[in-house]
């Protein structure tokens, strides 16, 4: 164990005195920013797609939109996140001539990717809401979109909150691949520390612990939110 003690000392030395801390904080910041922004974009896209999916399809426009959404979802669910990142960063964005940083591309791709997954969760959530809720909204003269927004989607989100939490955890973990497009996340930070000391055991252990703590915190947060949202289900 003496050896291990030495490694820890080395690690602490780099973190405290050789800029390791800044690297870790920067990485943590980017990891959280990418995951949170990705989730928010994903929820917005997911709600829009799910709404298109459940809209009555008498008219041409909803049918075209529906076809497009099906294509989009199968595209993003059918390819790995790393591939999507690489294609966006090295193929699509250069072609259309847009210059984005690694973090920005990551946010974009994480948002588009989680949008595809969340749309399916959201559709299940919307379909789990009693159709009578929509009818009641329509009967008092609210439009389909308004009833969706005020009545159905809030109940759908409540129903799928646990799965949405899983998606967020998934996103946090998936950020470990954003270094492929040059974004510095937690992995980059600890890899830097490891490379500086030629010693990877402690840095990677610390990285794992940080990921676990992050996920546990999120789990706790979701549980609290669920409790809040369940108020309307409880008899007092």
């Amino acid at each position: 164990m003496g050896n291990f003690q030495l490694k820890i000392n080395q690690f602490v030395e780099i973190v405290m005195h050789q800029g390791g801390m800044n690297q870790i904080l920067e990485g943590l910041k980017n990891t959280v920013i990418i995951a949170v922004s990705g989730l928010i974009i994903g929820i917005i896209i997911g709600i829009l797609i799910a709404t298109v999916r459940v809209v009555p399809k008498y008219k041409l426009l909803p049918r075209i939109l529906n076809g497009f959404c099906t294509f989009y979802v199968s595209l993003f669910r059918g390819t790995p996140m790393v591939v999507q990142l690489l294609v966006f960063y090295y193929v699509l964005l250069p072609i259309i001539g847009v210059k984005l940083t690694g973090v920005q591309v990551s946010i974009l791709v994480f948002g588009l990717n989680s949008g595809a997954y969340i749309s399916e969760m959201m559709r299940a959530g919307i379909q789990s809401v009693d159709p009578g809720q929509m009818e009641a909204g329509r009967a008092v003269g609210l439009s389909f979109a308004t009833t969706m927004r005020m009545i159905v989607i809030p109940q759908a989100i409540k129903n799928i909150l646990p799965t949405l939490g899983n998606e967020f955890i998934q996103l946090i973990k998936e950020t470990s691949v954003v270094s492929f497009v040059g974004a510095s996340d937690l992995y980059v930070a600890f890899n830097y520390i490891g490379s500086n000391s030629y010693e990877f055991m402690v840095p990677y252990l610390a990285m794992a612990i940080i990921y676990i703590v992050l996920v546990l915190l999120i789990t706790l947060g979701i549980r609290i939110m669920e409790k809040q949202l369940r108020k309307s289900d409880k008899r007092n």
Partner: protein, 251 residues
């Protein structure tokens, strides 16, 4: 007030309504009866285009609302609906259930210059008055899940009233209730009838039909087979299918 002309509705290749014609006057209390599967609920749901009719016209206050080009939402605000399973908004409090639609409609109305805060305050006061009317003011801040079936249905009725509708449609309003709660809902409906509200009611409550309705109609095989005042309807039915139906339901 409401003219239904040759209303038709199919589900897939099955004809449910096969040319319904009826004229409903202001203040009419129309009870709709018929054997199960006769299309009486479908008829009611076609009146506010909850089901889109496949043919015919529904002239409500001079406008054919069966025409897909009209903005149905505007017309539905003048035609309340009460459902068998209440369908209160589960994510809204009892008070919000009542005031939500009036607040929304007024804030979107360009002719209504009242500031949003005042609209909300006014409509909440109105909603609270409606709750007082049915004795549920102490439930205002609670969620629908805490209410009994009878309380839910009475809230659903005043939710329809909050829009100041010209008429209210009732789709088997007491069928999902425990027997001891049927009375409180029917009493509220009787009150509305006395106040002159135009009502179309699909129900199996024959006692209510006799006492409150001024017209009872019998729908069978997708058409109206009998349309008569309750006394004549129950004591002197003409249609043979109605006679058979009455002999089964009036034991």
């Amino acid at each position: 007030m409401l003219d239904v002309i040759d209303l038709k509705k199919n589900f897939d290749d099955q004809t449910v309504l096969d040319g319904i014609n009826i004229h409903i006057n202001k203040g009419d209390i129309v009870v709709v009866t018929g054997p199960s599967g006769s299309g009486k609920s479908t008829f009611l749901r076609c009146l506010n285009c909850m089901e889109d009719p496949d043919g015919g016209q529904i002239i409500f206050n001079g406008v054919d609302i069966a025409d897909m080009k009209v903005d149905i939402n505007v017309h539905r605000r003048h035609m309340g609906m009460v459902f068998q399973h209440f369908n209160l908004f589960n994510n809204k409090t009892v008070l919000q259930n009542i005031s939500l639609a009036p607040i929304y409609v007024r804030t979107k109305d360009k002719n209504d210059k009242t500031p949003k805060k005042e609209i909300i305050a006014e409509e909440n006061v109105k909603a609270l008055e409606l709750l007082e009317r049915i004795g549920l003011q102490d439930k205002a801040g609670m969620y629908p899940v805490t209410l009994s079936g009878g309380q839910k249905q009475r809230v659903a009725i005043v939710r329809a009233l909050a829009m100041n509708p010209d008429m209210i449609l009732f789709d088997e309003p007491t069928s999902a209730l425990d027997p001891e709660m049927v009375g409180e809902v029917l009493d509220l409906m009787k009150e509305l009838a006395k106040e002159g509200m135009t009502m179309v009611i699909v129900t199996h409550e024959m006692g209510f039909a006799k006492e409150v309705a001024n017209r009872v109609i019998f729908i069978d095989e997708g058409i109206i087979k009998e349309d008569a005042p309750p006394k004549e309807f129950f004591e002197n039915p003409k249609d043979p299918r109605l006679k058979e139906f009455l002999s089964k339901v009036l034991m």
